[in-house]
Amino acid sequence: MFSLFLEQLLNSLQSGLMLFLMASGLTLVFGVMGLINLAHGSLYMVGAFACAAVAAWTGSFWLGLVASLMAAALAGVLVEMLIIRRLYNRDHLDQVLATFALILVFSEGTRWIFGSFPLFLSVPDILTGTVVLPGALEYPIFRLAIIIAGLVVAVGLFLLIGKTRLGVRIRAGEADRGMIAALGVNIDQLYTVVFALGAALAGLAGAFVGTTQSVQVGMGEPVLILAFVVIVIGGIGSIKGALIGSLLVGFTDTMGRFLLPHAFATFLDPSSATAVGSALASMLIYIVMALVLFLRPSGLFGTEA
């Protein structure tokens, strides 16, 4: 029982960190540019397809991973320069409409290039198999690798934002867009860089997750919804909030699915306990979001609007 519990904790951490890769880009773009980007899930899909296509073509997962970063960042730069740039001064409804249209364009474009059937993408040989962790716990090496990669990216992102010149500009951009433009920072360039950074992180998440799931058109939208839940919980615009929110959502979702049916089984018969438990488990993260919003309307780490 202990090792099962420990395994579920690792699973929670892994799903939380993958969500963080998505949510951090979304929250950066919203915080710095004030833009609601529904097409963020499409960039995740672009990353997964690029990784699958290049891995199939070259036979190397690692080249696929590089390709996913580059393809998503490139798609991000193009989209930002051609379309998103015109939306910064519009209201949120216009942004939602335009980026929703981008979802349709990306989805049908991907279908046009790759077809309607899911692509194959598998774990590289070096990361297949399992390791035995303390407590006689057998855990897939690939999931462990994803956890480590997620932690490395999270630390890197905090260093980038906290310690570098670019980070100073990003934080300044969040605080007062007009003022840093007046101080001579090339605001257009900053926006493009931030957008590309967010896109690359989403593409990386797509490649990682595509390896364990199915690489298919429309894979980005369910993750996009979760990422929005995360940034609402964490506070819009806050990277720290995105990290805490991601871990909270990953933990709530995994543990809810695992424990709730068992909890109901203590006082219900097994089949209705399964039905009630799994129904409630699928609502749990939204209940958590509602609670957080009730207690702290601007999210855990959000600045008061």
């Binding site: 579920q8 399964t274 799994s278």
Partner: protein
């Protein structure tokens, strides 16, 4: 004057061809052609249209629309097809929740509905209808066969999981109806869920000797890949939906050896099936899935009825459909009293033929199997 002559000639030709072919039949196909579940609808459509193309019958017209896997869109399309396009026959729906939204109202308006896939229990028992024919199966069938196979393979303690929606519940009910052993644990996952780490951890800890799962489309791909990565090696069993031709390529070699139950397979030995697999591959450049096979059979059933009766005489046309006088890719094909097929269900195993992953029959799970709801149907 010349126009008059051609008209007369055409009328004469019609009479010569006999009354049965005089009446054109218009078919409305509503199926999923975009979004996550598009592969299934595209296969059903391509199978159907292959038969239409081969028959080359000018009296058969087909209108095709995309339901985007959304019940509200499907209902709108059905209304449009019935009222505006004036179709005689509807077909094409893949998903049971969409079928429940469209079929009852369509058959109540005296339109025929021929199902290429979805066949929820609600339409097989008390809700059966003379205008509704399922060419594929009844939803529970393949799961029942999986339960029967698991028992005969000697499994005593199964861990079972399916998505938390009506067809998922039908699935686990069907499995349990024919499985003699114990159920170690029963789990309903979220519909569209893509990460199964939590469930696989429970499977690892459960001590079960077999795992039955029904996760169609992308859900099945995700589960299979993660299961293979997890190092858990309890044998998996499932219905063909978890391992159909459209999914195998994305799962890869991890799928090899997987046992699944199906009423169709590309190696069912009859001339119609052989020709179907060959022509489908030549036409579309890929192997057909079971959805394509159902589509192909549905079109051929309809064509056989058109050869026997006129669509304007509904009663005669229904009788012609009931007779099921066509050559099925499944070999023999008979309708039961509730107009669902009585058929053999096979056990298949995933194998690699050259570079291509596909299924091969390794035995029969249930023969001449009828569904559990037929007795509740009074027609």
């Amino acid at each position: 004057m010349k126009g008059m002559k051609t008209t007369i000639a055409a009328v004469a030709a019609l009479f010569a061809a006999g009354a049965a072919q005089a009446e054109p039949v218009k078919v409305g196909m509503i199926t999923t052609l975009s979004g996550g579940g598009a592969g299934l609808g595209i296969d059903a459509r391509d199978g159907f249209m292959l038969a239409v193309k081969q028959a080359n019958n000018p009296d058969l017209q087909v209108v095709i629309e995309d339901d985007q896997r959304k019940p509200d869109v499907a209902v709108q399309l059905a209304d449009k097809m019935i009222q505006q396009e004036k179709v005689d026959v509807l077909t094409g729906i893949i998903w049971s929740n969409l079928a429940m939204a469209v079929v009852p109202s369509a058959v109540a308006q005296d339109k025929l509905y021929l199902s290429v896939n979805a066949a929820p229990s609600q339409l097989a028992g008390k809700g059966c209808n003379a205008n509704y024919f399922s060419v594929s199966y009844q939803n529970d069938n393949l799961h029942e066969a999986a339960g029967g196979y698991a028992s005969s393979a000697g499994y005593k303690n199964a861990f079972i999981l399916a998505p938390n929606y009506p067809a998922g519940k039908d699935s686990l009910a069907g499995f349990k109806r024919f499985f003699m052993g114990d159920v170690a644990e029963e789990i309903y996952t979220k519909l569209g869920q893509t990460d199964y780490a939590a469930e696989i951890a429970q499977i690892r800890a459960s001590g079960a000797d077999s795992v039955f799962f029904f996760l169609p489309g992308g859900m099945g791909i995700a589960f299979m890949k993660q299961y293979a990565q997890s190092g858990v090696n309890i044998p998996l069993i499932g219905p063909a939906f978890s391992m159909d031709q459209g999914i195998l390529g994305a799962v890869g070699d991890d799928a090899i050896g997987f046992k699944n139950t199906s009423n169709w397979s590309k190696d069912i030995d009859n001339a119609t099936n052989k020709a179907f697999v060959e022509t489908f591959q030549a036409e579309y450049g890929r192997l057909p899935s079971l959805y394509a096979a159902y589509g192909f059979d549905t079109a051929n059933l309809l064509l056989s009825a058109m050869g026997k009766a006129s669509i304007s005489d509904k009663e005669a046309f229904r009788d012609a459909l009931r007779a099921a006088d066509f050559s099925s890719v499944r070999g023999k094909f008979v309708f039961g009293p509730n107009q669902h097929p009585i058929q053999d269900i096979y056990v298949r195993e995933v194998v690699k033929e050259g570079d291509v992953l596909t299924n091969k029959i390794v035995g029969i799970a249930l023969s001449d199997h009828a569904d559990a709801y037929a007795s509740e149907c009074s027609m």
